[in-house]
């Protein structure tokens, strides 16, 4: 049964002392519980999107060898709150030349399209707002609502910059929808279901049970999906719709105050959503190593709550790690040109992701699950993953060491300054 129905039934039994099956107001209590759940999700988005914007700016500072915002609150942790309050107090301008209804409605669509994805994100063992049986299709469909909102904002502003930003972002979002849909098709092939909880249940807690390490094609599909997701989130290196050096700010140029904030809000939350989708579709989601989901469901009381909290934590850690990777990519790669953007999608990502679908399908038909070949494949992929992590760590260390010598000669100080020591 759905967790929302559970909570509603619990409420009806304990507060109203009625039988949920025959009580006439059950639907009302359920609606209220859904509303509260939606508000909790909103609070989560707000609490997440705000500090992440601060973290990104601090990381950007460190990567660019500067300090970053550290004035508002201790070390600037309240910077996001100050920005939000400032935007709230700003005048809400509508250009005289704009198409007023379209202009005013666009933030609603963008925000709703982003927020709708939260319905099917599996946060914990039993915690998902609605475990739709068409979950992945729903995710692909609801995030397309953002495209409509961006086009409305771009066209409705009646500004040349906004128009270019709007059509660029529409072309980009629809194009990258294709490789991301193909990559998720690989996941659906392996899981045998479209439900998001079903996809997590088809994986396991240990890395060799994750879909990413199932076979080489899945390994590639993860990176293809991640690339496409970055593009769908309008993030650098695919941030052409808001390329400030070419088209000033793109589709949101005429927006001010709170309406502008909702665009940014949706963008920050989108990073989280795509990281979460990657985490549950490829990296095992909330699965706890060594504990089967059925064992969690069988526990009672505080033990159940404890396992739930652990599964939440695991999911959040995986998603947050991917958010960090997205942030780091932003400060690593330069922006693509619009022709490179289209070529990257249609000539590289689309054919490659088709190839991955074919490969996963053939391996699924040929290699029986749990057999010797399957075990060898999984072991090899986990080894490959470990090797990638190890090699990159060594490369980081080598890059650092080379410059450390130079720095000591020139400055007479040590270069080492770990990220936790905030300047």
């Amino acid at each position: 049964m759905n967790i929302i129905q559970h909570v509603a039934n619990l409420l009806i039994r304990s507060v109203f002392h009625a039988d949920p099956a025959s009580w006439p107001w059950t639907w009302l209590v359920q609606a209220v519980v859904i509303g509260i759940a939606a508000f909790l999700a909103f609070a989560f988005v707000a609490i997440f999107a705000g500090p992440v914007s601060w973290i990104e700016r601090r990381i950007a500072g460190r990567i660019q060898s500067r300090i970053g915002p550290n004035r508002v609150g201790p070390q600037g942790v309240l910077q996001w709150l100050a920005d939000g309050v400032k935007c709230w107090l700003k005048e809400d301008l509508v250009p005289a030349a704009a198409d007023r209804p379209l202009f005013l409605a666009a933030p609603y669509l963008v925000f709703t399209g982003m927020f709708g994805a939260f319905v099917v994100l599996p946060f914990g063992a039993q915690v998902v707002a609605a475990d739709l049986n068409v979950g992945i299709l729903y995710l692909l469909a609801i995030t397309s609502l953002v495209v409509v909102g961006l086009l409305m904002a771009g066209w409705g502003s009646n500004s040349k910059w906004a128009l270019f930003g709007g059509v660029r972002s529409a072309a980009q979002l629809v194009s990258y929808e294709v490789p991301s849909a193909f990559s998720l098709l690989c996941v659906v092939l392996l899981a045998g279901t479209l439900s998001t909880q079903g996809i997590v249940a088809a994986q396991g807690g240990w890395p060799w049970d994750w879909f990413i390490f199932r076979n080489p094609f899945m390994f590639a599909a993860f990176f293809l999906y991640f690339t496409a997701a970055i593009a769908e989130g309008n993030r650098t290196p695919f941030d052409l719709p808001e390329a400030e050096s070419e088209i000033v700010a793109g589709y949101n140029i005429e927006y001010s105050g709170m309406r502008f904030l909702f665009f940014l809000f949706a963008e920050w939350a989108n990073i989280w959503i795509m990281a979460a989708i990657s985490a549950f579709a490829f990296l095992g989601g909330w699965q706890i190593p060594g504990i089967a989901p059925e064992q969690i469901a069988a526990t009672k009381g505080w033990e159940f709550v404890g396992w739930q909290a652990l599964s939440w934590t695991i999911f959040l850690v995986k998603a947050t790690f991917l958010v960090f990777v997205v942030i780091q990519i932003r400060w690593t790669l330069p922006r693509l040109r619009v022709d490179q953007l289209m070529i990257t999608c249609w000539k590289y990502l689309v054919p490659l992701s088709m190839l991955m679908v074919l490969g996963v399908l053939v391996l699924l038909a040929l290699v029986p699950e749990g057999g010797g070949a399957d075990t060898i494949l999984r072991g090899a992929m986990v080894g490959l993953g470990l090797a990638v992590v190890l090699v990159s760590a060594l490369r980081v260390r080598r890059t650092f060491r080379v410059d450390r010598e130079h720095y000591r000669e020139m400055e007479g100080r040590d270069l080492w300054y770990p990220p936790y020591r905030l300047p």
């Binding site: 929302i4 129905q5 609606a31 859904i34 509303g35 759940a37 939606a38 508000f39 909103f42 709230w88 107090l89 700003k90 005048e91 809400d92 301008l93 509508v94 250009p95 005289a96 030349a97 933030p107 609603y108 925000f111 709703t112 927020f115 709708g116 319905v119 707002a129 609605a130 739709l132 049986n133 992945i136 299709l137 729903y138 502003s157 009646n158 500004s159 910059w161 128009l163 529409a170 072309a171 629809v174 194009s175 929808e177 294709v178 849909a181 098709l185 659906v188 045998g192 479209l194 005429e254 105050g257 709170m258 909702f262 289209m342 249609w346 689309v350 679908v357 399908l361 699924l364 038909a365």
Partner: protein
């Protein structure tokens, strides 16, 4: 299942209501000092010449068309992919493989056609060489 979709509907409604409430509450906090200068379209300080509602690059339209073909095909492939595992376990592997390969083959043909026509190249002369002065 109906209940789940009610949840979706209520979630979407709630998110729109949250946006509405935030904008409405802001009305009591923010100043409202309209002026002709503020209401003008921003073009980096230049006075805008004409409206922005003009014909833009038709290549965007081409990509939108290609996308629709691909997305419809993908949406049709998803059901086949969802049952693939069960059918393979039931010994009907050839059927599901043939089905998905057929879908993919159609898309590969489409992609090859568009690629070969040069529609995927952004920097190209849409007017064609014979119409150039």
């Amino acid at each position: 299942m109906g209940f789940e979709f009610v949840v979706v509907l209520l979630f979407l409604t709630t998110s729109a209501v949250i946006v509405g409430i935030a904008l409405w509450l802001g009305r009591f906090l923010r100043p409202r000092l309209p002026s002709a200068e503020k209401a003008s379209t921003y073009e980096c300080g230049e006075r805008p010449i004409g409206s922005a509602w003009f014909n833009f690059n038709p290549r965007f339209y081409l990509f939108a068309l290609v996308f629709i073909v691909f997305d419809a095909e993908i949406a049709l492939t998803y059901p086949a992919a969802a049952v693939a595992r069960r059918w393979i376990a039931e010994g009907r592997a050839w059927l599901v493989v043939a089905e998905i390969v057929l879908f993919l083959a159609i898309l590969v043909a489409a992609l090859a056609y568009v690629w070969g026509k040069g529609e995927l190249d952004w920097n190209r002369d849409l007017a064609g060489p014979e119409e150039m002065p």
